[in-house]
Amino acid sequence: MRFIFKTTYAQDIELAKHGGQRFWYGLLCVLLLLAPWLIDEYWLAQLTFVLIYGIVGLGLMLLAGFTGQFSIGHAAFLGTGAYTQAVLSNMGLPFPIAMVGAAALSAAVGVVVALPALRLKGIYLGIATLSFGFIVEEVFARWEKVTGGNAGLHVKPAQVFGWELGSGNGFYFVCLVVAVLCTLAILNLLRSPTGRAFVAIRDSEISAQSMGIHLARYKTMSFAISAALAGLGGALYAHKLSFISPDQFNILQSIDLLLLVVIGGLGSVHGAFLGAIFLISMPQLISLSKDWLPPVIGQAPGLQGLVYGLVLIAFVLFEPLGIYGRWLKVRTWLQLFPFYRRGLFKRQKSFTKSDRLR
């Protein structure tokens, strides 16, 4: 168990709490920087996808995990970002400017969604965002002049001032930089008054309101930031796949994103990336295990859906705090070695639970 002796108030909000964290995150950064030389091309592509989904997950995590607003239509923001990026870069705009455009348009769409969402809670909000997701998907399919309709749209490779990034190493570094910047931005946001207001709204809207938090403004802001991050992720996604079509942004994608944050662990920044790793590696593991399983099970068409469903049910039943919650428990168990009690995390859990149920 590590005890930190605090000598200034600034230490309370430092990003790295102690030297150990600096060391491990530094090591992670070094490994990620060296990744193109350590792993082969295929796994590098998967790592790029993890980073992209991590960015989108960060956005949804801010909305669902920290503000308590569940969105079942997040693929719509992802799609908005992807299509904006595709259209802008096909027009010949440089990559960073197109990305800013994608994030800005997604944020604007997020504000539009937030307006009806301000009065809604729980399942009603879920249905409103779900409806919105369906409508946006239909718009992608029908607005053929811009989006190319169901035939899809080809995206030119990313270009920065005449230097082509392609989709290999160069693009990986772009994703890495964007992911790191987004993570730092979210961490910074969460220790600022705005982030604290988000968490207060999640814990109890009424008490947040009575503390002087303007609910409408903060909810709109949360939606906008979340949508902007999803848009950024979508922009990178468009370049990575270099082909987008409306069925990539359907309800299943939204559910995948929700799965990502729930399995990663609601209410933790780590959870977004852990969930992304899970979401990307799961299909790989299933296809790897197909050779080992007997053909009756291995070749069954719905195997992936079945495994996803089972894993989700298992997580909701046994580990509502997600992968990051499990890691916290393991870490506490190791730190307190003989003294860990089962109920150590119980109180916090039942508190948030009673509050969520209303």
Binding site: L115, P116, R119, L120, I123, Y124, I127, A128, L130, S131, F132, F134, I135, E138, A141, R142, I206, I251, G302, R358
Partner: protein
Amino acid sequence: MGIPVKRLNSLVWGLAAAVAAIAGMLLAPITFVHANMGFIGLKAFPAAVVGGFGSLPGAIVGGLVIGVVESLAGFYLPDGFKDTAPYIVVLIMLMVKPNGLFGEKLRKKV
């Protein structure tokens, strides 16, 4: 108060599934049965929201409204509106009257 909560919860789930199964039985002869039929169930949400949760007449009226709007949109409006019309109705409904047509207004206790 002596109410067996767990048993009633299971019973309600069972009843809901039974009612949905009856709907499925009625749906099977007039549409195409396939493995991804779950998406049809998503249209039950608009119906319940338009009618208002917690109101039986609301469920019937909501279902009627959604069904009629969908068919009319398919006939009069350009292609593509048929699938989105119910969701547009729901969004408008949620904006104007979040509790639905017949839903009762519940106040949250602090």
